[in-house]
């Protein structure tokens, strides 16, 4: 009779190895991992020796789907990438198509987009930072700042009618101008959120328990972070001041004055602090955008992509023609390939769009920051405790939707 082999993770283990190490299946649906992530951990006592991540549990074939949808119907797909900051994904996609068709946006559209994107960044960072606090055992802060995320969602709701998966705006601008109620609420948020954020910070940031749990936990050096393709707050925490908003300004970001916060150790505490400071900077940008808000139209003059208002469709021949052409996919799209990237909640969110002149993209590739930097996770938690693995994951802000596309 053949000798029975001990196989763990597809690797044959010797008797000694099996005695020495324990294998723990963390996930796929573990309440502490905030999403569907599976990691098979090789443990020596409570120390992690190795980790084997498995991803793809919520893969929804977005790149295939996008090849079968007209351009304006791809927007709802982008919602579901990083669903904590959907408006950034939506607007990034709109800007990619606008780059392809060489459409110029009025300044007002740019400024309105900046306000929405910065609100989305605040909403994204609120979740990430308060969840780090939850994972160290502080639930109060989480519930406290979540009220403010709710207020951001109410603003989205007034603008586009939805809250989480927003489908905000159109190719060529917004569907309507912001109402007075929206402006009032944004102003209210900008004035009152700092107080809450300050309180959250004073509760967590210099808290001895929190600092002990996060400092020097899950660190990564700048060289390694660059080699692993880190972008966004995680790269900045490691000390590299790369921000797409500054390096390749889009949407008139060059008009605003803000700083890029950076950390030094690239550990969980630095990632927390970088996100904290980014929220302050986002508030600062929103204030500037509201002060400088130019007059003008809330949409560009691109009749071949921007659906005309319903009154025009019913009452004018031209409106009806454009409506029909857009819906039936008869508009002319230039051939070509274009790459556009925006600074998403987690880093450089890129869209590589190849058009063959048809009504759908020939190929659309999303550069999803989570997917790229999550491969460093096993290296970051090697030698750490099991409880540190959880907190490292939440501080990297890995969003399952963006990871799996």
């Amino acid at each position: 009779m053949a000798k029975q082999e001990n196989i763990v993770n597809g690797v044959v283990q010797t008797e000694e190895e099996l005695k020495q190490y324990n294998y723990l299946n963390l996930g796929p649906t573990h309440p502490a991992t905030h999403g569907i992530f599976q990691n098979i951990l090789k443990l020596d006592g409570e120390i992690i020796v190795d980790a084997q991540p498995t991803i793809g549990y919520i893969h929804r074939a977005f790149e295939k789907l996008a090849e079968h949808r007209p351009y304006y119907q791809v927007t709802p797909i982008t919602d579901r990438l990083n669903y904590c900051s959907s408006p950034i994904n939506n607007i990034g996609w709109h800007m990619t198509v606008e780059k392809l068709i060489k459409a110029e946006m009025p300044k007002r559209v740019d400024y309105m987009r900046v306000i929405i994107m910065e609100l989305a960044r605040i909403a994204d960072h609120i979740i990430c930072n308060s969840v780090i606090a939850v994972d160290t055992g502080a639930l109060t802060g989480f519930l406290y700042v979540f009220q403010w995320r709710e207020k951001i969602y109410e603003i989205y709701e007034l603008i586009c009618g939805t809250r989480l998966t927003t489908n905000i705006g159109r190719i060529g601008g917004f569907e309507r101008d912001f109402s007075d109620d929206v402006w009032r609420r944004i102003e209210e948020f900008v004035n009152e959120f700092p107080k809450a954020l300050k309180e959250f910070e004073s509760m967590v940031m210099r808290n001895r328990i929190f600092m002990d749990r996060t400092i020097k936990v899950g660190p990564i050096t700048a060289e390694k972070a660059l080699n692993y393709g880190f972008t966004g707050p995680n790269l900045r925490a490691a000390g590299v001041d790369y921000d797409v908003r500054v390096m390749n300004p889009y949407c008139s970001y060059q008009d605003f004055d803000f700083i890029i916060p950076i950390g030094s150790n690239g550990d969980t505490y630095d990632r927390f602090c970088v996100r904290e400071e980014e929220m302050w900077q986002s508030l600062h940008i929103i204030k500037q955008a509201m002060q400088k808000m130019p007059a003008g139209d809330y949409k560009a003059d691109v009749p071949e992509f921007y659906l005309p208002p319903k009154e025009d469709v019913y009452n004018s021949m031209e409106g009806l023609i454009w409506h029909f052409k857009i819906v039936m996919g008869e508009v002319h799209v230039p051939k070509g390939q274009v790459y556009h990237s925006v600074e998403g909640g987690n880093g450089e969110l890129g869209f590589y769009l190849v058009s063959d002149g048809g009504r759908q993209p020939y190929r659309l590739h999303f550069r999803r920051p989570c997917f790229i930097y999550y491969q460093a996770y096993p290296e970051m938690i090697k030698g750490a405790m099991l409880s540190d693995a959880i907190i490292t994951m939440s501080s990297m802000n890995v969003i399952a939707g963006e990871l799996d596309a």
Partner: protein
């Protein structure tokens, strides 16, 4: 004195170094599209990364492409490089026949390439020679085809419980 980096300089430096390997150079929407020979791709990537002026230190993204109509160039890999020092971006393409879908791996240059190559293998069936762990990444392991190839329809072609007549097709 710092040299001004522009697409023209990148092109001329690259042509000077790899005269035979550069097949075609185009510019679209401000970004260089450089088509190079498949067997030279790693050498070129490494040269671009380590060059003292160009310094393309960051591999932004990699993805596969499928062009079923183009004979012997059905598949391609696209590499986006970015230099944090000069803020230049370029795009490299390699084309190869679907009957021989092998490309050398870039995992030796950037760790980033690991999962991106697994993704390209998963969706297009591109084999990366020398890759340490070439398995499917997003799809189930026992899937029999590579779903982003153009011949596969949007819905699962192996399903039998959906009849077209019930869906008006």
């Amino acid at each position: 004195m710092e040299q001004q980096i522009n697409n023209h300089l990148i092109e001329s430096l690259l042509r000077e170094q790899f005269a035979d390997a550069v097949i075609q150079v185009e510019e679209s929407y401000g970004m260089l599209d450089i088509t190079v020979q498949r067997d030279k791709i790693i050498e070129i990537l490494q040269w671009l990364r380590d060059h003292s002026v160009l310094q393309f230190n960051f591999l932004t993204s990699m993805n596969g492409m499928h062009f079923p109509e183009v004979k012997n160039k059905e598949l391609s890999m696209v590499y986006h490089l970015h230099s944090f020092f000069t803020n230049a971006r370029i795009r490299l393409h390699v084309f190869f026949p679907i009957s021989d879908p092998h490309v050398p791996t870039a995992t030796g240059l950037w760790n980033t390439a690991n999962w991106m190559e697994r993704e390209a293998f998963d969706f297009f069936g591109i084999r990366f020679t020398g890759h340490p762990d070439l398995r499917r990444i997003l799809n189930v392991e026992d899937m029999l085809y590579h779903p982003l190839l153009k011949q596969y329809p949007l819905e699962d072609g192996t399903r039998t419980d959906k009849e077209d007549k019930y869906f008006g097709r």
